[in-house]
């Protein structure tokens, strides 16, 4: 028997995050699709909905500027879905038992998982921003605003990843995780993602969009692109991302305790 010191937390997190990133890098479909699909949708929407900018009161003359916030949301969703499915596979296949038999702490498992999500969040956000800039989008809040936009996009990605992780830990089934995500797309479509809230004519739609937290996440990103510095848009966006992170991280941690019943 070899006397072993328990691996410390940062080292465990590093190992598990490294594994999550290896998964992403070795499965190109996990990276390419989540990044390309939102860009394709952006191109389609921009060409198809450009006439919307002629509506009196539309906040900008370029639909591309208006719609650039959407890929950040969709990319974050896909990344969370992939991360959740990855974790669900670990549970279904028993890999989580292998990890549970080591001195690994539960916190390291969660943090390692989020390390992969953070990686995807950063890669996606940087690409969307660069594509936007190349296509001629101007960031009204300037260079500092672009950096804050990245920070917000990564925070949103992180919050979504926490949700994906919670669902995976709670359900322990990849297909069930996948089944949850159309719900998010519905939330995205019932938000102000594609049309400004104050221009939505249907009362029910406007009401839902007003209570839909996704609206505020989109509007936070959008404000930096088309308005400049707008605390009234940024604070709710950061606040909702932070609150969702805390909520789903807490729920994940509880779900993990149930899942890892090791003594």
């Amino acid at each position: 028997m070899t006397a072993l010191a328990s691996a410390n937390l940062p080292s465990q997190v590093g190992l598990l995050a490294g594994r999550a990133i290896t998964h992403i890098v070795r499965a190109p479909a996990q990276v390419v699709f989540p990044i390309v699909f939102p860009l394709v949708l952006l191109a389609v929407n921009t060409s198809g909905l450009d006439a919307a900018t002629k509506v009196p009161g539309f906040p900008t003359a370029s639909y591309l500027d208006f719609a650039l916030a959407v890929p950040f949301m969709q990319g974050a969703l896909f990344a969370a879905l992939n991360g959740g499915q990855d974790l669900a596979r670990d549970i279904e296949g028993g890999f989580i038992d292998r990890l549970a038999l080591t001195p690994m702490s539960g916190a390291a498992l969660l943090a390692g998982q989020l390390g992969g999500a953070l990686f995807m969040g950063v890669v996606g956000a940087v690409i969307y921003l660069l594509v936007g800039l190349i296509l001629g989008v101007g960031i009204a809040a300037g260079v500092a605003g672009a950096l804050v936009l990245l920070l917000l996009a990564i925070s949103i990605s992180f919050a979504f990843a926490c949700f994906g992780m919670f669902i995976a830990l709670r359900l322990g089934d990849g297909q069930a995780v996948q089944g949850f995500f159309p719900l998010f797309f519905v939330l995205l479509f019932l938000s102000s993602a594609f049309y400004p809230r104050d221009l939505i004519e249907q009362d029910w739609f406007r009401t839902i969009a007003t209570y839909n937290p996704v609206s505020y996440l989109v509007e936070g990103i959008r404000s930096l692109v088309i308005t400049g510095w707008d605390a009234g848009a940024l604070l709710p966006a950061f606040g909702i991302a932070a609150a969702a992170t805390v909520l789903f991280l807490t729920l994940s941690s509880r779900a993990l305790r149930t899942r890892l019943t090791r003594t």
Binding site: L4, A5, A7, Q12, R19, T102, P103, R259, T263
Partner: protein, 335 residues
């Protein structure tokens, strides 16, 4: 460690939802350095017992100490002392064999400088050096089992739990794994707790066997003692000339009761005492002028033991049982 006992279990119970008792009050002990074979059909409670002993499931009641530590209260200490290869080989299909070793070594707290060397040494021992840089998704069933074993051994555990380690393996891979398990026990003094539904595996490998059925241990002892308890050897004779059948039967009559044909044209007699009667039997056949085409001594098998203790054959039980244990147990969120 309590004396020489590596594993001590008293009155262990594990219940699942709906009051299903997968493990129903078992007592067992395994001496240090011993190979203990836990034999039973699917759903008998083998895997649940392993999960409790390896701290992955808390017991409902009863006591279990592994390496001297209480599995319910000293989980971390138990885990540091044991290596585990569970029934489903859980590998990461995206990682190579060598990356698995590095991840496991890191999580086990093996110093960074030693990780690569330890990993390579074990990959070499299980014959995976050349395949070490291939993703585990490209491995055969036997290679996956061997990598699983290497991962279980990485931190030098004193006690090794192997849950049905050869299920689904071809004969060659199975024999190679048996050799390695036997070597670990003989040369390194590793205690091995091995579950299996294969009679031959328990017979060949285990110093002692516990037979479990419906969550209870129905028999325990060395394979030889268990077999001797329930049955005696059978001698089987086929005369060269079918006309000698009656004479053969007559010559064998003093040695035991006839038990029917084992194969066409044979006469099988369960011996009154043991195999030492064989010389007398040969002499009796000679005196009766029987020309013998085939003569064989059949020792009782562990299946005879299982049959005697449970009223059904192990192979039959394995096929007939739905598996409440192995099927329901992994859903620990619900349990």
């Amino acid at each position: 460690m309590t004396g020489e006992r590596a594993i001590e279990v008293t009155g262990l119970v594990r219940e699942f939802k709906g009051g299903i008792r997968a493990v129903d009050g078992i007592d067992l002990h395994v001496a240090a350095g011993e190979i203990y074979g836990f034999l039973g059909p699917n759903g008998a409670g083998k895997s649940t017992t392993v999960k409790v002993l390896t701290t992955l499931l808390p017991p409902t009641s009863g006591q279990a100490r592994v390496a001297g530590f209480d599995v319910a209260k000293e989980g971390a200490k138990v885990r540091a002392s044991i290596g585990v290869a569970l029934q489903d080989v859980a590998l990461d299909p995206m990682l190579t064999g060598r990356e698995h070793m590095r991840l496991q070594a890191g999580l086990q707290g093996i110093p960074r400088a030693e990780r690569a060397e330890r990993g390579n040494e074990l990959l070499e021992r299980v014959g995976l050096s050349d395949a070490g840089d291939r993703k585990s998704s490209t491995y055969s069933g036997g290679m996956k089992r061997r990598l699983d074993l290497a991962l279980a051994l990485l931190h030098g555990p004193r006690i090794l739990f192997l849950d049905e380690p050869t299920t689904g393996l071809d004969v060659q891979s199975r024999t190679a794994l048996w050799d390695e398990v036997a070597r670990l026990a003989r040369e390194e003094g590793t205690t091995v707790f091995l579950t299996t539904q294969y009679l031959e595996e328990a017979d060949v490998l285990a110093d002692r066997v516990g037979i479990i059925d419906n969550g209870k241990i129905v028999a325990e002892g060395t394979p030889a003692a268990l077999k001797a308890q329930v049955s005696r050897p059978t001698v089987e004779v086929i005369p060269r000339d079918a006309a000698d059948w009656a004479a053969t039967s007559e010559a064998l009559r003093p040695f035991g009761e006839q038990v029917g044909e084992r194969q066409a044209g044979s006469i099988a007699v369960r011996l009154r005492s043991g195999a030492e009667q064989l010389a007398d039997i040969v002499r009796a056949l000679d005196v009766a002028n029987v020309n013998v085409a085939h003569l064989a001594l059949h020792e009782p098998t562990l299946d005879d033991v299982f049959l005697a203790k449970t009223g059904r054959s192990l192979e039959g039980a394995a096929a007939a049982e739905a598996a409440p244990d192995e099927g329901a147990a992994p859903d620990r969120a619900a349990a």
